[in-house]
Structure formats: structure tokens, C-alpha cells
């Protein structure tokens, strides 16, 4: 299939797009076959750490020589499956693979604590499978291939969520399975309509044909609607977010940190790809009232879900509701339909992934040490677990969007985009939602720092768990100061998307 046999240095370089997906996929199969938890952990860490290296090489190649087109199995596109990588998805690949690596390094002892022994090897296999699916969704240039990878990652996610220690995790996984399958099926209906309209499934090819057929054609509008609703279910677009809080709250910490930082982000990327690159700005936002609808839903997500987050008594559920509101920021960036806004949306996708993974990992450290996730039981942890809680506070500041943290950069671009569009109420919504974030992050900080310890710290969280949390904490500060990735690369991706693929 892939001519890897003659793997001299050059050959291997040209096979990088395939390796990006195949390495974790093969790792997952091997892990599932061996079923020994220590070996499983080792394979998972090895595969996950290799991912960012490949993603960096791909990004460098894209930045140096422009878009990469890789013919899977040697079948030339548009008939064969094409892996097509431009600045936008090179950025997503890098994000997913870095988060995958950081969470994998964090995983072993967190997993040993939260998942029963005989299930750990399977859980690692599902982790790698999920990573492979998400990377595949981001890298492939074939609409149906996206569906297949979407289901690979989703089936792995349902299993990961069901591995949670409480029985409620099972119900959360089942509900997500039903909603996730509805979402994927809506997506595939949309793709089917486009396929019957154009006769192609290759995304780039589709983008070339669409301008000729889409004008006033109802199938095109229906296809767009089905695809947006399908992806909307996957990315927890308000009000289709009801599966998310329970799924994040009851999944094992490792799964939550990984899913919160990657799954919804890849879905946002798909939305960007279809709306901007394939249908084109012209059609998406003039033939349909999508900008208005997205804007209202994004604003509601930012306000309603931030408000819900304030009243959660479980810190993981609080962070989950906050995730839905943060997805609202990304959608707002899309709905503004200008370069600054879109840069803000893409930048927020990156920043929020780091911030939210960091928060969930800090909560995971606290859970490892004390066995509690209810906010009131975190009392006094600021004194008993200073390092972990300091990480939580810094990432929390990032979530609020304090200057000097990564969260500020994306909110700045968003505000700029909103004022360019002359939408001052959007600026107001961003500010109000950020103030609400002060309340829900502040509630945890207040309990942790200004109350007497309530639950004893039974054991110290392992060094690698705290270290990985701090790697992300420092990243929150670093990307708040140095904006060449979340500013410049995001802007390049936004330009590429605004231009569209149609030539």
C-alpha cells in the first residue's frame, strides 16, 4: 500500500502525511493485541511523542513550499484519496499532536489511579485510535474519508468516556454515542447531497465545481445546512451542547484533557474548511443567513453557558460548561466574516486547547491527591498543593483573558474583528462573558486559597503529572507574550481560508 520498504531518508520524508495517521493507528492495534498495561503505556507515549515531530516537519514543509498534496496509496486525486495540507490544517495537526503528546506523558499514573487495571491497556489503545482519527480528520482532503475518520475518533471517544470510574460515565457515553452518531449522519447526508450535485468527494475538486452549480441550487443550501448542523453537534454548538458537560465531567481525567483540547477543535476546523474553502464566503454568507444565526448562537453560548458554569458544584462540570462558552468565541470569530475576527477564532482554538487541557490536568492532579472533584472540597488546596493550584490560577487567568496570557491574544483579535464590523454589542458580549469567567474561576480560587483545608492530601501527585501541567501553564504565559504561532500562523491560516479554494 505505502511503499515504505525502500525507506531511505528522502522517501520517509515524502511519506510524512501517511505516517501522521498510520503511526498511532498501528500503535493502537499493537496495544490492543498485547494487552499489557506497562507496554501499552510505553507504546502510547512513544507514538504520541513522535506525532509533534512529524507535524512540525509537515508545517515547515508547508511554510517553505506551500500546500502539500499526498496521494494515498499512489492513486492520483481526485479519484484517489488525497491528503491535502495547507497552513490551516498544518496548524491543527500541530495542535492535536502536541496536546496528544503532553496528555500521553501525563497519562500513566493518572490512568493507573482512575481506570481499573485490566482495562488500562484497552484505554490506551482507544486513546491512540482517537488521536489517529482526529489527525485523519484534519489531514484528509476527501469528504467521505473525513466521515470515516470522524467515526473512528468518535467510537474511541465513547469508549474512553465510558471508562470513567462512576457509573454515570456509562450514561454520558451512551448519550454522546446517540448524539455523536446523529451528528456524523447529518454530516454524511450533507456530503451525499454535494456528491449527487457534483459527482466528486475530493474537497479541493469540490471547491472548484461548487461555484458553477451552487448559485440558487437548493441542494447546495441543504447540503451546507446538513453539514453545519452535523459538525455543530460534534463541536457542541449551542444549543446542541447537552452531551458535553456530562461527557467531560465523568470521563477519566486523561480522556477529558485530551478531548477538551482536541475533539471540538478539529470539528471547528472542519466547519471552517467547508464554510470558507469549499462553499466560499460569498455563497455561505449571502445565500444563507448563516452569519446571523452563528452570531446569535455564539453570543448565547458565551452568555448562557458561562452563567451555567458559575452555578456548577463539580469543578469538572464547571470547566465543561466553560468549554461550551469558549466554543462560542470561536464561532463568533467565524460569524464576523472578516480577517481579524477569523484570526481571533483560530487563535482562540489554539489558546483554549492549551488553557483547558491545563485546567483539567490541574484538577486531575488534585483528584489524584485528594479523590474529590466537588468545588467545596478543594478548600485549602492553595496551601496544601501550592504548585498545582498555582497552575490552575494562571490557566484560569488565561481563560478570563488577562493581558500577558494566551487568552488575551485571541480576545484582542476578536474585539478588533467585531469593531471592524461595527458590531459593538458583540464587544459587549465578549466583555460580559469574560467577567462571568472571573466569577467561575474566582469561585474555585476563593475556596482553594481563603478557606481552611477540608479534605486531606492523601498523597503527593506524581512529578510528571505536575510537570506536564506546568508545561502547559508556561505555554499559556509564553503564547500570551510571543504571538508568532497563535497570532501570525493563525493569521496566515485565516487569510488562506478567507481566500477560499475556488480558482
Amino acid at each position: 500500500m505505502i511503499p515504505l520498504a525502500a525507506s531511505s531518508g528522502m522517501d520517509l520524508m515524502s511519506q510524512l502525511p501517511a505516517l501522521q495517521v498510520m503511526v498511532p493507528l498501528i500503535g493502537a492495534v499493537v496495544t490492543a493485541a498485547i494487552r499489557q498495561r506497562h507496554i501499552a503505556a510505553a507504546i502510547t507515549v512513544a507514538c504520541s511523542v513522535a506525532m509533534p515531530l512529524i507535524a512540525i516537519l509537515i508545517l515547515a514543509e508547508v511554510q517553505a513550499n506551500g500546500t502539500i498534496s499526498y496521494a494515498m496509496g499512489g492513486w492520483a486525486p481526485p479519484i484517489g484519496i488525497e491528503y491535502r495540507i495547507d497552513p490551516a490544517n498544518a496548524f491543527i495537526l500541530l495542535l492535536v499532536s502536541i496536546m496528544g503528546a503532553v496528555v500521553a506523558l501525563y497519562a500513566p499514573r493518572s490512568m493507573a489511579y482512575e481506570v481499573s487495571e485490566e482495562r488500562q491497556a484497552w484505554t490506551y489503545a482507544m486513546y491512540l485510535m482517537c488521536m489517529s482519527g482526529l489527525l485523519g480528520m484534519a489531514i484528509t482532503g476527501d469528504a467521505f474519508n473525513i466521515f470515516v475518520f470522524m467515526e473512528i475518533s468518535s467510537l474511541a471517544m465513547y469508549t474512553l468516556i465510558a471508562m470513567g470510574s462512576e457509573r454515570r460515565a456509562l450514561v454520558a457515553a451512551f448519550q454522546y454515542l446517540v448524539i455523536g452518531t446523529l451528528g456524523a449522519t447529518f454530516y454524511v447526508i450533507g456530503v451525499g447531497l454535494l456528491f449527487s450535485l457534483t459527482g466528486t468527494l475530493n474537497l479541493y475538486d469540490l471547491a472548484q465545481i461548487m461555484p458553477a452549480v451552487e448559485a440558487g441550487h437548493r441542494s447546495a443550501i441543504a447540503g451546507l445546512a446538513f453539514i453545519v448542523v452535523g459538525i455543530g453537534l460534534k463541536l457542541a454548538m449551542f444549543p446542541m451542547h447537552l452531551w458535553l458537560p456530562n461527557a467531560y465531567a465523568y470521563a477519566p481525567t486523561v480522556a477529558t484533557a485530551f478531548l477538551a483540547s482536541t475533539a471540538t477543535k478539529v470539528a471547528v476546523y472542519l466547519l471552517l474548511r467547508f464554510v470558507f474553502s469549499i462553499f466560499g464566503v460569498e455563497f455561505s454568507f449571502t445565500a444563507t443567513p448563516m452569519a446571523e444565526i452563528l452570531m446569535v448562537l455564539a453570543a448565547l453560548a458565551m452568555l448562557v453557558c458561562s452563567f451555567s458554569a458559575i452555578f456548577q458544584i463539580n469543578v469538572k462540570r464547571m470547566l465543561a460548561y466553560s468549554s461550551v462558552s469558549q466554543v462560542g468565541y470561536m464561532l463568533m470569530g467565524i460569524a464576523l466574516v472578516n480577517e481579524a475576527g477569523l484570526t481571533g477564532g483560530i487563535s482562540h482554538l489554539f489558546n483554549h486547547a492549551i488553557i483547558k487541557a491545563c485546567l483539567f490536568m490541574a484538577v486531575g492532579c488534585a483528584f489524584y491527591a485528594t479523590g474529590v472533584t466537588r468545588t467545596e472540597n478543594l478548600a485549602g488546596l492553595g496551601r496544601t498543593m501550592p504548585l498545582t493550584m498555582a497552575a490552575f490560577v494562571i490557566a484560569g487567568l488565561g481563560l478570563i483573558g488577562v493581558p500577558g496570557t494566551a487568552g488575551f491574544v485571541s480576545k484582542w483579535y476578536l474585539v478588533q474583528g467585531a469593531s471592524e464590523a461595527g458590531l459593538w454589542w458583540v464587544v459587549a458580549v465578549i466583555v460580559v462573558s469574560s467577567v462571568m469567567a472571573v466569577f467561575y474561576v474566582g469561585a474555585v480560587v476563593e475556596v482553594a486559597y481563603f478557606r481552611e483545608p477540608k479534605v486531606p492530601v492523601v498523597r503527593k501527585p506524581p512529578t510528571e503529572m505536575v510537570a506536564m501541567t506546568w508545561v502547559l501553564t508556561l505555554a499559556v504565559i509564553y503564547f500570551g507574550v510571543v504571538t508568532d504561532v497563535n497570532g501570525d500562523v493563525a493569521a496566515a491560516a485565516a487569510r488562506e481560508l478567507m481566500a477560499g479554494w475556488a480558482r
Partner: protein, 131 residues
């Protein structure tokens, strides 16, 4: 399609009956998923919903008078093989999803003693209240 409006409704139904069946299955499946609290019935609805998509793909792939896409003497028109391949993949995905859904339903039954979502919600609410 403007010419469709001129024809009678019956003709539109008759010439596009595949699509009407597709739409019926789609809506029926979705209704079952939303309306039923029994998890097995939810999965049945999900299955029907997914099946409707198979039909949606296969319908435009068939060319009237076309044969199977194998090069033979005397055949000039072929049906498009791609939709069949795609749907074969989609069927496999559907089976995997159903298997996982049923496995979860078994585990939920072990944990809660019921697979009625309404009953489980009541238990969950009680647990929340007791905390």
C-alpha cells in the same frame, strides 16, 4: 426544479419514490431517537436513521439501463460503483456504532438495573440532591 411544479403531485411521488422513502425513514428514525426513552429503541431509531442515508447515496448511483460496472462485450452504460463502496463502509461504521451502543446498554443495565433513560435520570437527580 421548476418543471417539477407543472407536473402532478402523483407523478412527482412516483418518479422520485426512492427519495420519499429516504425522507420517511430519516424522519421516522430521528423521531424514534428523540421520542423513546428505552435505550434499545433509541438504537433501533438510530439504525433506521442511518439506513435512510444508504438509500440516499445509492439512488443517484443507479443509471437506468446501466449494468454492473464490469467491462464486458455489449454493455455501454454502467452504474456508478462509487456509492456502493461508500455505503459498504458506512454499513460497517453503522454496525460498529450499534455494537458499541448495545454494549453500553448492557453495562448500564448492570449498573442501574434499567435501560429506561427516564428512570436513570430520576436516579441521577436523586444522587445529585443527596450529595
Amino acid at each position: 426544479m421548476p418543471e417539477l411544479a407543472d407536473r402532478s403531485l402523483l407523478e412527482a411521488l412516483a418518479t422520485h419514490y426512492n427519495y420519499w422513502i429516504t425522507i420517511f425513514l430519516m424522519v421516522a428514525g430521528l423521531y424514534i431517537v428523540v421520542a423513546r426513552s428505552n435505550m434499545i429503541k433509541t438504537l433501533v431509531g438510530l439504525g433506521i436513521f442511518q439506513t435512510s442515508v444508504y438509500l440516499l447515496y445509492l439512488t443517484p448511483g443507479k443509471i437506468l439501463g446501466g449494468t454492473a460496472p464490469i467491462l464486458t462485450e455489449g454493455a455501454e452504460t454502467y452504474s456508478n460503483p462509487l456509492p456502493h463502496v461508500l455505503i459498504l463502509t458506512a454499513i460497517v461504521v453503522g454496525v460498529a456504532t450499534l455494537a458499541l451502543g448495545l454494549a453500553l446498554a448492557v453495562r448500564i443495565h448492570e449498573a442501574y438495573g434499567t435501560i429506561e433513560e427516564d428512570d436513570i435520570t430520576a436516579v441521577v437527580d436523586r444522587e445529585d440532591f443527596a450529595e
